[in-house]
């Protein structure tokens, strides 16, 4: 089996995870910028982080023959401080030409505040001005429905944004249709406790189809599983889905979306 891991925070993972993912058939890993678990005190911290995502982490993955790609932004959890966000967003253009950068992400909302929304709009403008793909984080738990609605409204309001070049991640049963109906892609994040389990993800694929859908593990420093995507492929196999169907979902679909950036070559 082959698969693409389109959303994994590998800077938080041990090297053994690269070994396991490669053994499981991972053909490429993509790493959006995210919250480190603590607030960075200045834009300089983000500069170093962007260097880590675009210089160091690709080298670590390459030791296992694994292509590593990244997305850049200031995560919504740090977007309440608009001045800091402005400083970080000003740093991003100088990194966009780096060979493993695919676009702007994971932007979005966390608590659905006015400042988060303003910073989301700033990121969307940045992506539009530089013709970048967009990867969107939707809020957690009780905030997801409202946040997803607000995010879709922001993206639809900016006529420079092509829906097919946006993926809205962490969908669940109450948001997946809203995202797919908008013409954007939907990401299903496979987590042990929150977000979506492998059986629920396969349920959504069976109900809503496998067009414009990908699955990811979003493994990070919290409770998460870097092998969640191949485990979901096994779940599909148990239900009798064909090898072609499984391959399309875990390899073909992410390759199709990510391939809209010319730098994504595997």
């Amino acid at each position: 089996m082959r698969y693409i891991e389109p959303h994994a925070h590998m800077v938080s993972r041990v090297t053994d995870d690269y070994v396991k993912m490669t053994l499981a058939g991972c053909a490429a890993v993509c790493e959006p910028a995210f919250w480190a678990g603590f607030d960075r005190s200045s834009a300089d911290g983000f500069y170093d982080y962007f260097c880590q995502l675009t210089e160091h982490e690709p080298k670590r993955a390459a030791k296992f023959g694994l292509p590593h790609f990244s997305w850049l932004c200031i995560n919504p959890k740090e977007s309440e401080d608009v001045k800091l966000a402005e400083e970080v967003i000003a740093l991003i253009p100088k990194f966009l030409d780096r060979p493993n950068v695919l676009g702007i992400g994971e932007i979005g909302l966390n608590k659905n505040s006015r400042n988060e929304l303003r910073v989301l709009e700033m990121h969307v403008d940045l992506a539009a001005r530089h013709n970048q793909l967009i990867l969107v984080h939707t809020p957690h738990l009780e905030d997801k429905l409202k946040g997803t609605r607000l995010i879709v409204d922001v993206l639809k309001a900016d006529k420079r944004i092509q829906p097919g070049r946006v993926i809205i991640d962490h969908v669940e049963e109450h948001t997946v249709k809203l995202v797919l109906d908008s013409g954007m892609w939907a990401g299903m994040t496979l987590y042990p406790e929150s977000k979506c389990s492998p059986p629920r993800a396969v349920d959504m694929v069976e109900v809503y189809g496998d067009e414009r859908v990908w699955m990811n593990c979003a493994c990070d420093w919290g409770v998460s599983d870097p092998l969640a995507v191949p485990k979901t492929a096994l779940e599909m196999k148990k239900r009798g889905h064909s090898p072609d169907t499984i391959d399309r979902l875990v390899f073909g679909n992410p390759a199709k979306f990510l391939g809209q950036c010319a730098k994504f070559k595997i």
Partner: protein, 89 residues
């Protein structure tokens, strides 16, 4: 899949989770203190499980969700609690 195939694959797992839910409720009820918005929302969500009709997972998620549409003035925390207080309080 046929219903027997679904049951063959998932019944034991679902049975186990159902007993875990029952034990969780027993644990909450043995504990001292008042019900907060989370357990009230949880009890509301349980009603969705017994209802006839499709999209039970979606209905459960909606019970826990903030249904409002305006952004909040400012984020005072980063964390989510799993239930929206306004739905039950």
């Amino acid at each position: 899949m046929t219903q027997p195939q679904v049951l063959d694959l998932y019944f034991m797992d679902a049975r186990s989770k159902l007993i875990d839910l029952a034990a969780f409720l027993d644990r909450v009820e043995r504990a001292t203190g008042e019900d907060d918005f989370r357990i009230k929302a949880f009890r509301e969500a349980l009603k969705a499980l017994s209802a006839h009709g499709p999209e039970k997972a979606k209905q459960v998620l909606l019970v826990f969700s903030d249904p409002t549409t305006d952004p909040i003035p400012a984020a005072t925390t980063k964390a989510a609690s799993g239930a929206w207080p306004g739905n039950v309080e």
